[in-house]
């Protein structure tokens, strides 16, 4: 069994499961010696995993699918058997635009969630130019959420607004320099813009699609085939780490670890409140309570649902990333999102796991219980606010 592993990550709060597994000794417990390697871009992560420089990595949930479809990078097939969490990102808009909306169209900011109609109205009157929004990667939930939110507000892509790819850790600087008018990214990069007073959060991913997909642990299919035991050990370590992280008092400890220079290297005040469910939308507002802003284990958060994969395929097609839908999506999703490997790891740890691959109820207003499982699993609500996201 391969024991020395290098795992890549991007500086984002949701790399927490990897950091917890290392710092709390869960990797060691399963016989793994892991080095976490911070990367600067998702393309680096993809290429280094593809060529074996990294064994596995923190990846955006649609990345392994895009790689396997051959529409991203060199098309080396990848897979994911573990989701690193749900929710955790937000759409930030430049403070100047938010203030202008507040002044001219205060009504537009009074809906829940806030919709983008106010921006559209500003465009025709106060801001006669095209808006530019940043997103972290073409194949990301962030990109699909951002497009859906902008289009819901009546903004035409290309005409009213342009979407530009910028790595998450550069968003705040790009906003400060006026290169973009807003962006969709994970934490701590929204809270940083709010704390600097240059941006305000319009909506969180939690407002748009509560308990929506976010990141996964990605590996190449070749690596998974060559290292089945190591892969299982890795999944067990991550499952334990994710459960450890959903204990509120452990969130305090992980927040402190994440401030270290080798991880996020930002002040505790930007990392800890969202992890504890306290989220700041604007500098002059009190924090709002979003207990599920980061979900690491509850609600079957670590299960790589095929329904999420099917949604990514639909979004890739709708955004023009994928010209034609695959002939056999069921087989493709089974290859990419490896539910049997997850179940095996959960079984080893005597944790409950879903026995179906498709979430029986994606759009659900109240907490519910998943009974298609080895033991019933408590699920959160999964309200999907925008039509486009119900594809």
């Amino acid at each position: 069994m391969k024991q020395e592993l290098r795992i890549g990550f991007l500086p984002l709060t949701d790399c927490a499961v990897l950091v917890a597994a290392l710092e709390r000794g869960f990797f060691e417990k399963y016989g793994l010696h892991v080095t976490l390697q911070r990367e600067v871009s998702w393309a680096n992560i993809r290429d280094r995993v593809a060529f074996g420089e990294l064994d596995a990595a923190h990846m955006l949930a649609p990345m392994p699918l895009a790689a396997t479809l051959g529409i991203d990078g060199l098309g080396i097939p990848m897979q994911a058997a573990f989701s690193l969490g749900l929710n955790g990102s937000a759409i930030t808009v430049a403070s100047s635009l938010m203030e202008a909306m507040r002044e001219h169209y205060p009504q537009a900011l009074c809906t829940a969630p806030v919709r983008a109609h106010g921006l559209k109205r500003l465009l025709s009157a106060q801001v006669p130019r095209k808006l530019v929004f940043g997103c972290v990667y073409p194949f990301s939930q962030h990109h699909y959420l951002l497009q859906a939110w902008l289009q819901d507000g009546g903004l035409a892509l290309g005409q009213d607004v342009e979407i530009r790819v910028i790595p998450p850790q550069q968003m705040v600087e790009s906003l400060a320099q006026g290169q973009i008018d807003g962006y969709c990214a994970g934490e701590p990069w929204n809270q940083q813009a709010v704390s600097r007073g240059i941006g305000q959060v319009a909506v969180t991913s939690y407002d748009l699609w509560n308990n929506g997909p976010e990141k996964v642990l990605g590996v190449t299919q070749a690596w998974a085939e060559a290292n089945p035991e190591t892969h299982q050990a890795l999944l067990c370590a991550l499952l334990e780490a994710a459960h450890w992280l959903d204990e509120p008092h452990n969130r305090v400890r992980i927040a402190e670890l994440l401030t270290r220079p080798e991880y996020l290297d930002v002040p505790l005040a930007l990392i800890q409140p969202p992890l504890l469910g306290r989220y700041r939308y604007a500098p002059d507002e009190p924090e709002r309570l979003l207990p599920d802003f980061n979900v690491f284990a509850r609600y079957a958060a670590n299960f790589p649902w095929h329904s999420h994969g099917a949604y990514f395929l639909a979004q890739m097609h709708a955004t023009g990333q994928l010209a034609t839908l695959p002939a056999d999506p069921v087989a493709l999703l089974a290859k990419v999102y490896c539910t049997p490997l997850y179940r095996l790891a959960a079984e080893t740890l005597s944790l409950p796991y879903p026995t179906v691959d498709y979430l029986p109820s994606v759009h659900c207003l109240a907490p519910w219980v998943l009974r298609d499982a080895s033991q019933p699993i408590a699920m959160g609500n999964s309200y999907v606010a925008l039509e486009r996201l119900r594809l």
């Binding site: 600067v40 871009s41 393309a43 290429d47 073409p138």
Partner: protein
């Protein structure tokens, strides 16, 4: 002749790569450094090949452009046909990534990449050597300091002090510099002033 763009945050490496590419017969080379607007530079110069340092955060931005317009770069897609997986692997491990605009003959891109890989590796070697030299210099200083303390407090000769330090290092399975640093730190904790 194809137009090349070098995007590198390290000006020294970028300069040496430019020299090597000029020597290899590439006449049109544009260098873009840190803080410069890469997108504007790509639009202005319309290069055929872009070589970019993998540590540049502009990579994701650059790559996504291929979805937007045709004259913008795409990654080294022809390697996807597995024709030259080794060169790609070597490029990635050296930290260099290449993007091309139109389908260039594979040989040309390959020669560009080979020059870049060699330069990136050479540069890394120099950096490692410098690090190594610095750490050896530091080791020598710390060993001298530890020797001084031992000579003064235990009335040892320089050679005896050195042998004692060596033994400490061997017993603890450490490098002598590390053992000397530990020793000096321990003495400082015990209240000694050196």
């Amino acid at each position: 002749m194809h137009k090349l763009m070098l995007v590198d945050q390290d000006p020294e490496r970028s300069a040496s790569l430019e020299v090597a590419l000029l020597a290899a017969g590439y006449a049109h080379i544009i260098r873009v450094g840190q803080g410069e607007n890469l997108l504007a530079a790509v639009r202005t110069h319309q290069p055929d090949i872009i070589l970019i340092d993998m540590q540049s955060p502009d990579r994701d931005t650059l790559e996504s452009l291929r979805n937007v317009s045709r004259e913008m770069p795409k990654p080294i897609v022809f390697f996807a046909e597995q024709s030259d997986i080794d060169t790609t692997r070597a490029a990635i491990s050296a930290g260099v990534s290449a993007y091309i605009v139109d389908d260039l003959p594979g040989k040309r891109l390959k020669s560009v990449l080979e020059v870049a890989i060699a330069r990136f590796q050479e540069h890394q070697k120099l950096k490692d050597e410098l690090e190594d030299y610095k750490s050896r210099l530091q080791d020598r200083k710390d060993v001298d300091k530890a020797k001084g303390i031992l000579m003064q407090h235990r009335n040892l000769t320089e050679e005896e002090a050195y042998q004692l330090l060596r033994k400490m290092a061997m017993d603890r399975n450490m490098k002598i510099g590390e053992a000397a640093r530990n020793f000096v730190a321990a003495m400082a904790l015990l209240g000694g002033k050196f």
